[in-house]
């Protein structure tokens, strides 16, 4: 299967197989006018199978969200057909309005327009806790 190489845009690579649609939704790529290609179950030496997303535009993406979905993802920035940057992602220290606190006793369940903020409290075990009530975010 052949997908055109992009001249100016972003290639989100090494997405765990099956996670591309989730990332597509979270990043709001459905709202873009440019070409977006989702490749699923691409053979990979490193992962066995992987997903890839190609975006035919140099957007300013929310790196934190991508790092949260999967810190093993790499992002390649392509300018004039040449890869000018390869970013290794990591788990972000803070997540704002990415996940919601499920604790019904948390102030974020009632306070008007309060951002949903989670902080990374245990990098090794990927534990995020609500900034307000410290409830643990459900594991992805």
């Amino acid at each position: 299967m052949v997908i055109d190489a992009i001249r100016n845009g972003i290639v989100i690579d090494h997405i765990a197989a099956g996670k591309a649609m989730e990332l597509y939704q979270i990043l709001g790529l459905g709202k873009l006018d440019c070409t977006v290609a989702i490749l699923k179950n691409v053979p990979s030496r490193k992962l066995g199978r992987k997903d890839i997303i190609k975006v035919d535009s140099n957007l300013d993406l929310d790196w934190d969200i991508i790092g949260y979905v999967d810190p093993n993802i790499t992002v390649n920035i392509i300018v004039d057909g040449v890869r000018v940057e390869k970013r290794q992602l990591k788990l972000p220290e803070r997540l704002t309005n990415v996940i919601r606190c499920k604790n019904p006793r948390c102030i974020s369940s009632v306070e008007q327009e309060l951002p949903q903020v989670f902080k990374l409290t245990d990098r090794e075990n990927r534990v995020y806790r609500c900034l307000y009530c410290e409830a643990k975010a459900e594991n992805r």
């Binding site: 006793r105 008007q112 009530c133």
Partner: protein, 304 residues
């Protein structure tokens, strides 16, 4: 500007300073009677409380300051649907310091983000209650003369008991602390407190459902009430409320210098007969609560 939302915002050195200041206030109350002349404390209590609110008010009045506020959400603009952020933006224009209790966890942190004056968390749901912890620490220090190398037993509702979570976090910073957790299965200490306080600080701890088997080891016994307001289900509350009742006969194998603490109010988890035991410290604890809050108000207002 400093706020106090979580006890861990205070370093052990700052806690030592507050304990020393509170002890000096106990010994020389007249020297502090005008420290807060012209200052106003706002007590914003969105959830009923007798002890904590009166303790804050007594503390500020004893320092020469004045007090305004409300004691239940129904008599505040929250009843009209006002947000915590807007309430605090308003009240911080009328006061120099705020003490807030709220049933929602994290509400005082939201208040601190929007306040023009220092905010003290006076209890947020089942989450934190740092001034109760300061009270507990002053009691422990005055009873034992130290914070380190103590075996502290926590008994009752360790799941929703915010005072328990805060005190465990605070005591986990001292060398040689041992923690004994006594509760029914359903009210065990949440895993995050174990992970982030006990395990992170390599604190030795045991969990049990049997109080009598661990009683001889304890230097401190921290009793708690099973709180009706923390349960969504009345049946669960009724089933668990009488899990542990401390009676004089349960203390027969306890150390002679054990200190029994309780954040109060008590319902029936400590028999009234225990009150006469010299090891019962919970009414002394109430007294200490006023003095440590005086010390804290002064610290946050930058008054020496």
């Amino acid at each position: 500007m400093r706020h106090l939302i979580d006890i861990l915002q205070l370093t052990p050195e700052e806690i030592d300073e507050l304990v020393a200041k509170a002890t000096d206030i106990i010994n020389h109350p007249a020297a502090y009677a005008h420290k807060c002349d012209g200052k106003i404390l706002a007590t914003l209590f969105f959830e009923p409380s007798t002890r904590t609110r009166l303790s804050f008010e007594s503390a500020m009045l004893s320092l020469g300051g004045q007090v305004l506020g409300f004691s239940e959400a129904a008599s505040s603009s929250a009843a009209k649907g006002e947000s915590v952020a807007d309430t605090v933006r308003t009240v911080s224009c009328y006061s120099d310091i705020i003490a807030m209790r709220h049933p929602k966890e994290g509400a005082p942190l939201v208040a601190a983000m929007h306040s023009l004056v220092p905010v003290i968390n006076a209890g947020d749901g089942g989450h934190n209650h740092p001034t109760q912890t300061l009270t507990d620490l002053l009691t422990i220090h005055n009873e034992k003369g130290r914070f380190d190398h103590l075996t502290v037993g926590f008994c009752g509702d360790l799941k929703f008991g915010r005072t328990v979570h805060s005190l465990i976090s605070a005591m986990s910073r001292y060398e040689g602390t041992r923690v004994v957790l006594v509760s029914p299965e359903e009210l065990k200490l949440p895993s995050y407190v174990k992970t982030e306080a006990l395990k992170k600080n390599n604190i030795e701890y045991i969990q049990t459902t049997d109080l009598s088997s661990v009683m001889p080891e304890l230097d401190i016994l921290y009793m708690t009430r099973v709180q009706r307001e923390r349960f969504f289900n009345e049946e669960d509350y009724l089933r668990l409320k009488d899990s542990y009742i401390l009676t004089p006969d349960k203390l027969t194998n306890a150390k002679p210098d054990l200190s029994i603490l309780h954040p109060l109010p008590r319902v029936n988890e400590i028999s009234v007969a225990v009150d006469k035991d010299p090891r019962a410290c919970y009414f002394k604890q109430v007294r200490y609560g006023r003095y440590i809050r005086m010390a804290l108000i002064m610290k946050l207002l930058g008054i020496d």
